[in-house]
Symmetry: C3
Subunit: 257 residues, 3 copies
């Protein structure tokens, strides 16, 4: 089916690791490093040059690194100058601009748009169609759901860029907006459709437009079991590093992460 080596372009300056697969109609540009066992599916563009390429004869493509055992699905556009830890995976049609750094085992969903100069820790999962403005910073285990927008300009238009920061384990539910420069603590839950304009403390549930603190997430019960669902790592371990031993044991182990 896929991987027929049809209409593929790979720069002479790209470094392709062992056992890497490159899909049909994909272009890999200068100074891209793809580590072993990674799959770049069809119709992808890896190492997309920045605007300078079109206007500067001496343009040199910055280095792009995609870690091993990754899976980039079709129609991704990944700009030069970003780096991705091992086991990175994407949906289709993601756009990730320059100078962005992902830790290991992160995921980015279909159509998501990461505007550049952003940082993500490990195990961050971005679902379909999220928009991460320039200068945003995410910790580890941050999950962002569809149609969430992270903004950065407090008085549009201006030259100010204040990306939001999100702490470890926080969950940002669908279609929420994080206003410029706000800090979301750890283990926070932002409810669907919220507009968050103030900093949020650890373990808070915030909801609404404008978002208000409702209660401690540890007081939220599962509809199915009636038990506390948060901190969620106690109840969800698929793909997480505590899958074998459980979160409590894992978090108390000083050697973790």
């Amino acid at each position: 089916m896929k991987f027929n080596n049809r209409n593929v372009f790979i720069s002479e300056n790209a470094i392709i690791g062992e056992n890497v697969k490159i899909g049909d109609n994909t272009s890999i540009y200068d100074n891209v490093v793809i580590e072993e066992n990674t799959i770049i599916s069809d119709n992808c563009t890896i190492g997309e040059p920045t605007l300078d390429y079109y206007v500067n004869d001496k343009y040199k493509n910055p280095k792009t690194v995609i870690g091993k055992n990754s899976l980039i699905r079709s129609y991704a556009i990944i700009y030069a100058g970003s780096t991705f830890g091992d086991e990175f995976s994407t949906g289709h049609r993601v756009t990730i601009r320059e100078n962005t750094k992902f830790g290991k085992k992160c995921r980015v969903g279909t159509v998501s748009d990461i505007q550049g100069n952003c940082s993500f820790g490990n195990y961050c999962w971005l679902h379909s169609n999220v928009h991460i403005g320039q200068g945003s910073e995410m910790g580890n285990f941050v999950f962002i759901y569809p149609y969430v927008v992270l903004t950065n300009d407090p008085t549009p238009p201006s030259n100010t860029c204040l990306g939001p920061k999100i702490g470890d384990f926080s969950q940002i539910a669908v279609s929420s907006i994080l206003l410029p420069g706000i800090k979301i603590g750890k283990h926070v839950l932002v409810g669907a459709g919220s507009v968050v304009g103030k900093d949020v403390e650890d373990y808070m549930l915030v909801v609404g437009n404008p978002a208000k603190s409702i209660k401690d997430v540890r007081d939220i019960k599962s509809r199915e079991t009636g038990e506390s669902h948060y901190p969620w790592p106690n109840k969800f371990d698929r793909g997480m590093p505590w899958q074998a031993e459980g979160y409590k044991k894992w978090i108390n182990n000083k050697d973790n992460e």
Copy 2:
């Protein structure tokens, strides 16, 4: 213009009906059936394999069926294992995942993302950029407008998947959110930008964040005519099966649909 048979890939195991057109740069993978007179435009991927393809040497692509007289516009990604009734049409860049079933004469707009394991009746119209979470169920004549999100996880993240259900003739206006597991009745109108967290009865207009019932849709007047606009089939028939005889006559005819 189009259809120059340039850079086309069609699996030996695909079944292509009479008078089907396949656009340039399009890939049709294993076990895809495309029925007669259907047009698959350029740069499409039909029968996209699931994750298992990348990791299982014995992977076999499930069957995908696109009904006759359909029009799939460019850059569609349609996963293997979904089926589409006759006269299906799409905008550009739609992504439709596995195990989804569409009835006849449905439409899906540009950039829309259907996450799989969903069902749609007949004559469902999804406009641009809707996001339909896994496990959602739609009746017949359901219209969903841009940037609407159907969610399914009540306590994110969890392994629970409770897709919303939407009844016949209901209209979900732009940028609304349907929270997990809610049931929308028939002939409902969800106003723009609503966050719907409770079940909605037939014929209700609901609006706001959180959404509240405002009035019976039959009390909404057209700005232009001053007459009741709902039930909308009395006033709108373009492309609908009652176009010839009118909705009242059609709905009273036991042989319809």
Copy 3:
């Protein structure tokens, strides 16, 4: 890197100006005019035919004009019958339908979807993922931020199409909705996540769902300087025609624009 003349299709009836670059895998269809020094990057479709093409043997592609010194980034789909002033630029994956007119020096961001029959003045900047419904009209210097939706049907579904109108210099912040037929004055600021259902007077800040007038934008201070930030042209000039002389001098000069 790019521009290897690989898998390019250019209609015999297209007119390509001097020093134009056409990217790999791009298709330029009938009656497209691309003026000098413009770059059409890879995987673009310029002059996409309308629905009539698929059903009418005598279909003739309407004229499409892309002004000089423009930059269309990859995966754009631009329908036949639209015109773009000089120095037009886009992100990736934009979809722009027929009968739309852009003035000069406009920008359209990644994944944005312009539904056709729209008009834009000069220096309009649309960021990523905006949705502009049919029949919308924008003045000059209008900035629209991600996930904004302009709607046009007051009683969905109907055959009525009332696109919003936005006056010069107005700013529509992220994820806002403009309801059908509303008129936004000049120098307005619509706050993030607003649902605007009433006309808005010049210089107003409106916020909320439903949006309410909060104050005069001239009373909004910059967080950084403590000075009034609006009218924004006094504080922001990047890429604007008053960059050399300042906005006050420029606006008072009868020869401007």
